[in-house]
Symmetry: C2
Subunit: 438 residues, 2 copies
């Protein structure tokens, strides 16, 4: 290879430091011949599966996030840049960020997905989604502020509207959020409020389809719905959310008065996808080849939630961490092989299973023909998350502590932190965040 | 007492849940005849002495803050309201919040202090102070963002301006911040950055007076300055900061190019002080009587940083947690005594000493004739903070962990979290926070 003889390093850009990007980088760092550039608009890698716990005041942001730099501080061939990639030139293998074009030998696109409001972008301010730490702390702020306002509200109807919470979307995130809000209000916090009766909290989980957890076996969907209802969550299936406002929303034909709505319904690929000139799926994902390269340039790869990979049976892959992890590792390996003159392989997804936690000591797990529910499923969920968090960072300590306090019905992180401290100087508390006007 | 015969409870308002307000509440909860209303515009009590550690990415916000409600969840006679008190009617013993006047039998004003820019309020955006969690995370964001921008800056002068940090004010907070920034950049983070050499970081500590830590014995001031200089901090005394901008500031006659300025200089009493019609000191504090009541109504008390208490020797009291704690406890006791028909006493401050931490294993402690420096002072500082944090909340665990990682030169919480996640959608990273425009 000419690269090794004249010592010029092979430059690889990794756009996005989520599960896919980090997995690719981890595979590539082994080679001294490669210079890795990780570009992300945030300075941390996030363990997204536990993000809902930050929203629910159970974990601190730094418990589930690690600075990207820290992951690679001992590797001299890894460069981390805090920037947003705005454009991709597929033919020149260039990406545009920090006001300039940079050329690479390989480009790995791993930017993930963002929320999709089915064309109603104005709903975002009424119903934040849960994809990053800022959203998680915003959701925490909204829920805790609603309870504070309920505490001092004299009008019973208005008070109830503060105690009504709606989660839109019955996938794993929606199920986790609905269960956790119900437990937090009816159990953990109930004693802290003297005027408002938190036992009167209503949590609605709204799903447009016929059942929760659509990607799970039917029996597990039903069990999850049953568990949630036992925990006091009102599960409404076959109901499409419409007419969102700061006063509530319409679910099917039913209007629900509520001040807090959370969005866990639609996702779409990250914005950068639109700037890549290549084949796309109906939902806007980049259609990738068997080796995960994009159709317009074999040295550019796309993976995870940004990409559509068609399996042998004609189906796509779920939007889960496992897919991104396996794809990232695969792409890293293909590049290493190619530098050694070996041909590329074909990606095959190893489905280890899916799981969703419903509440304290309840979960559903589906792996092959194995189906778990209840406490044993929850233990499995905890165990797997401990193992992954351990690999991810040395925070097993934190996670064990959290698991313990979860059992004890405690919440460590119930702070309402306003996004702008200046907003606070001399102005009144408002439920809508005024610092977000622009 | 008529209150006990007809079972009407004595209503006490506590405005502000800092050290003073919480100490007063803790003294009062013992009596079933009293109904306590704690009103604060934040939902948490903050262990402010460790706030600089949140700014320095060493601790999480929730490690040093506890929801006020949680402190009193088992007391049926304590009501917590999230609101900002806007006015005080001294004669009617009423306070105005949530758009209404409320009457109380006793009012305890304990709102603390805020930053003072000596009439240059526009400096606040260039040089945030450190009084609350939002400011702490904002300071963290600015420091880490400056390092990120230094990492990608090609122009050497501009890069150096990102690596220059100025702390204005040589009191305990300024000393702690300057020491911590120097350690964090030159030791903890130096390996994480590949293009910027963090050994080139300059930390300037600017003090208008002739020496740092003016309230400490002279020898300790000199030792602190010497320690800081050994750690690479440039200590500039007798220099008044002027001409602050986003490009730097003028200290005396010297212009310093820098992108990050922190304000630890002036404080003034909380805004509510201006709304209280009573005797004030030159600096705007409420002048209080020997029993800590205000001159215009003996059933209204003021304490801590809001108040000026003249000691027998004609001097005032320092703005430290101990003063607020002892005064809060004293006021609580006076009210309890009064309900039993006992006369009021006179407050006497028990000066247990003062201390400031300078860096890893360096501090200064002054207590009576005892003066400690270096490692033994630092151990004393750690021990006392562990004891107080333990009383304050069950976080000794967290603090021990932190002490350990402080030794190991680790930083747990290096996340740049943007105040507005919406700010991020599609826009570029900017050094100034655009969400603060209004």
């Amino acid at each position: 290879m000419s690269e090794t003889t004249n010592k010029k390093k092979v430059k690889v850009a990794i756009v996005g430091a989520g599960f896919g990007g980090i997995a690719a980088a981890n595979a590539l760092v082994k080679s001294k011949d490669i210079e890795i550039h990780i570009i992300d608009r945030r300075n941390y890698h996030l363990f997204q599966p536990l993000l809902y716990q930050v929203a629910m005041a159970g974990l601190n942001p730094s418990d589930i996030a690690i600075p990207i730099r820290k992951l690679y501080s001992q590797y001299k061939n890894v460069f981390v840049t805090l920037a947003e990639v705005e454009k991709v030139d597929e033919h020149k293998k260039q990406i545009y960020y920090d006001n300039k074009w940079e050329q690479f030998d390989y480009i790995i696109l791993a930017c993930g997905a963002k929320h999709f409001y089915f064309g109603n972008n104005d709903w975002e301010k009424f119903a934040p989604g849960l994809k990053n730490i800022e959203q998680a702390t915003e959701i925490r702020r909204r829920i805790l502020t609603a309870l504070e306002l309920a505490e001092k509200e004299k009008n019973i109807d208005t008070q109830q509207s503060y105690l009504n919470f709606v989660v839109v979307g019955g996938g794993p995130t929606g199920v986790e959020l609905a269960g956790a809000i119900s437990e937090m209000t009816k159990n953990t916090l109930v004693k802290d409020y003297k005027n408002a009766d938190l036992k009167k909290t209503n949590v609605y989980l709204i799903e447009a389809g016929p059942r929760l957890l659509a990607t799970f076996p039917k029996e597990l969907s039903h069990r999850a719905a049953k568990d949630l209802e036992e925990m006091g969550v009102k599960v409404l299936t076959n109901k499409i959310a419409s007419e969102l406002s700061s006063m509530g929303l319409k679910a099917g034909e039913q209007w629900i008065d509520c001040k807090t709505i959370l969005w866990a319904a639609g996702v779409k690929p990250a914005s950068l996808t639109e700037k890549v000139n290549t084949k796309k799926s109906d939902s806007g994902q980049i259609i990738i080849n068997k080796d995960l390269s994009i159709s317009s340039n074999s040295n550019i790869f796309a993976l995870g939630d940004m990409a559509y990979f068609e399996q042998a049976d004609g189906t796509g892959l779920p939007g889960v961490a496992q897919v991104a992890l396996q794809q990232g590792e695969f792409v890293g390996r293909q590049i290493l092989n190619e530098l050694k003159g070996k041909p590329r392989g074909e990606f095959k997804y190893w489905d280890k299973g899916i799981m969703a936690t419903i509440g304290r000591s309840r979960a559903v797990v589906s792996s092959g023909r194995l189906q778990l529910t209840g406490f044993i499923a929850w233990l499995t969920w905890v165990f797997i998350h401990i193992v992954y968090l351990m690999k991810f960072k040395n925070r097993i300590f934190v996670f064990l502590q959290w698991t313990w306090s979860y059992f004890k019905f405690g919440r460590g992180a119930q702070l309402i932190v306003h996004k702008s401290w200046r907003f606070y100087s001399g102005k009144k508390i408002s439920y809508e965040d005024e610092s977000d006007k622009n």
